[in-house]
Symmetry: C2
Subunit: 439 residues, 2 copies
């Protein structure tokens, strides 16, 4: 039996764009990557609009009838930002189409449901480059990347998703559609509204499409992988790389518990490869610099797969994305393992060393309630450690559902007040992704 | 005789931080670069606070007594954003001190009154680089650069001021002091409040200090200057440069009326100099590539001096900063000259070709009322042309006082409404730089 809400949405959108919340296929829309820590949401209805106009209709309906809306992109988030707690789950995955590239203007017109990898591939076909490469780029959608301000290895040199946004098509809480930002590279004709939407996790408006900036593809990107006997020598190498004039495109690390072997530094050199190799050399037990396309692809596939491999170890994990000053990286890496130990959990970290942004992770069996609780406690200690070191509780995952308590600790009271005022201004009824992002 | 307002501010700040608005030295604080088009403001009092705490005191006083506050940085703006119309003129020039560089973290702690050039020099001393280089960098202050989101030649590759802001110390309309943003490179723990302040032209809060990101100084920057017999061949060369994988740091143009000689393209190569020279070659009447430090400095001093040289031609100018799609650059350059002709004014343009951001300029005698009026009319036509080509009315100068009518044309009604709501939220009494930025 469909609910009254489902029937009304059915009338609004048509049969094929509404999915019964109790149907077999619905489960996938009620969870994101926090499934690995046992999280599952619930919704009263699931809609899969195919056009921005349909999104606007649903939002206007929700506004009139006081129904909360949780927006979901590729469902690859680690903070539960897309996990609904009742109301409408709006999946953007049908807001698709082929991204259109304007090679002369270095510009892409991108529907919200374009996967990150598809945008990167389309750009490459035109000799252009879209740098952000978050971990699950074959699944993650540009709309979600923007809504979380996603990062990835190559954002070390090139900056996170928000830096590449020219303009956004959005649906406001009222159901109004508008475009914020401008497709030219420089525009100061109004306040920077688009940046307010970037990283807002569906709490200020719904992103239905975007114009993204691109750049000419770099002529060369050559990975160099160096292994070290311990954290101290690996982190020292990272510090030396940071003093090179040749900035690598990526500067990653994986600690020994992550690789189950050596502390590893992985960089992507766009020039100055010799200088960078030299910077990595001291204390390294091995250095590899594959030049063969196949080997290079394999290396990055291995790097992208780390998160899943770590999950597979015990069947689940709690993985956070703290950021610390690069000068405190070694401390944060060692503290992660120690915090895990105190809670009886195997811990590891890897991530974007150059940004001080690390995926501190506690491995667990997701069916073991005691371990799940221990991991949540460990995560709280992790956030406290990041703040103590002068860092942030989230570099790229966002606050979502799981980090609201930590955000209350991290953000100054006045800043929290301003955040709340912005939220109240753009979503007076609090219907857009309620219970997320704000402490 | 000092006014009551002056006496109260005197009591609040002390004698040396308040300047009589009718004193001889006051005039300089009542105008900015729009003086070249005959603009001069007026104030009831001028304050020159030395600490963020003093700024907060003045703002809290103004809030209680309903006194408008216009904030002024280096006074190099072209949009009249710092030209007061009564109330308090708050000059930030004493919020100084030496910028502190943290070389390991690629971070600078910068008081608002640091000049752009000083920050660039201090960074260089530590082997680091602060890319934005707006025209008047020896006079312009970082606080003003942030408040206008200033650009410059090297922001073609590196992005405008806002991209380099880590966190901002601000004083809100209420007089509250707070810090928005974070000094780590990645942080998504709240909404992007700092970007809301960037480019807000003193209408949402007052910037008293900042943490700015830096990067390692590029090993080499070699300018290449190419001259062309006409606009078409120069713009064709620009298009060829845009297809090179070697992205130059700067990609500038100066049209023939600007140089009083040839259409000129100036790039700054950080690599791939041969490839870039080749891209510039076709149709060029000459190519110069100085490698001597002295010659290089001279070349950039010449480029930086263009704006003043053009002013000197007839004693005044109306110079706007429209942005058009790079594919429409030739049309915009030619239209500028034609619009000038129709209004009996000599016109020229130069600027940031790679960003499609041009300084379209009408030369005039600033004492000639008829010419001033003609130039204002010409500027309106210029804005209409930019919008017609799919561009923006301001790439870097901002809206200030002089472009409010154009902004009303440029911005969609819903976007204007959102801008106004943001303003009302952060400055409910409308006392911060009233009559600026918003249409």
């Amino acid at each position: 039996m469909s609910t009254r809400l489902e029937r009304e949405l059915f009338r609004l959108l048509g049969a094929r764009d509404v999915m019964r919340a109790d149907s077999r296929g619905a489960q996938v829309y009620l969870a994101d990557a926090t499934e690995s820590r046992g999280m599952q949401g619930r919704a009263d209805a699931i809609v899969l609009p195919e056009t921005p106009g349909q999104v606007a209709k649903v939002v206007a309906y929700a506004q009139t009838h006081d129904v909360p809306i949780t927006t979901r992109g590729g469902g690859t988030g680690f903070a539960g930002g897309a996990v609904p707690d009742g109301g409408i789950l709006l999946a953007t995955e049908r807001l698709g189409g082929v991204p259109k590239i304007d090679p002369e203007r270095w510009l892409a017109e991108v529907p919200a449901a374009t996967t990150t990898a598809d945008l990167r591939r389309r750009a490459r076909e035109e000799g252009l480059y879209y740098p952000p490469d978050p971990g699950a780029q074959e699944q993650s959608l540009i709309g979600g990347n923007i809504a979380t301000n996603a990062g990835g290895p190559h954002t070390f040199k090139y900056g996170v998703t928000g830096r590449w946004v020219a303009s956004l098509d959005i649906v406001l809480a009222s159901g109004e559609q508008l475009t914020v930002g401008h497709e030219v590279k420089k525009d100061v004709s109004g306040y920077d509204l688009k940046s307010l939407l970037v990283g807002s996790e569906g709490t200020l408006g719904i992103i239905t499409g975007a114009r993204m900036h691109l750049i000419p593809a770099p002529e060369v990107q050559l990975p160099i992988l160096a292994r070290y006997p311990d954290t101290a020598s690996g982190v020292a190498a990272i510090a030396r790389v940071l003093t090179c004039a040749a900035i690598p495109a990526a500067l990653e690390f994986l600690d020994a518990p992550t690789t189950d072997s050596d502390f590893t530094v992985l960089i992507d050199a766009e020039g100055g490869a010799e200088e960078l190799k030299e910077a990595l050399a001291d204390g390294a037990s091995s250095i590899e610099a594959p030049t063969d396309r196949h080997a290079i692809n394999q290396l990055w596939r291995w790097r992208d797969g780390v998160s899943l491999q770590v999950t597979a170890r015990h069947g689940g994990k709690v993985s956070e994305d703290i950021t610390v000053p690069v000068t405190r990286l070694a401390e944060a890496i060692e503290s992660t393992v120690e915090i895990g130990k105190r809670h009886g959990l195997e811990a590891c970290s890897w991530g974007h060393a150059g940004d001080g942004n690390m995926h501190s992770t506690f491995m667990l069996d997701r069916n073991d309630e005691a371990q799940l609780h221990a991991a949540e406690d460990a995560a709280e200690e992790l956030f406290a450690m990041a703040l103590e070191l002068g860092g942030s509780i989230s570099g790229e995952h966002g606050i979502g559902l799981v980090k609201r308590a930590a955000a209350a600790q991290a953000l100054d009271g006045q800043v929290q007040k301003l955040n709340r005022q912005i939220k109240d201004l753009l979503d007076p009824k609090g219907l857009l992704n309620p219970g997320k992002k704000l402490p």
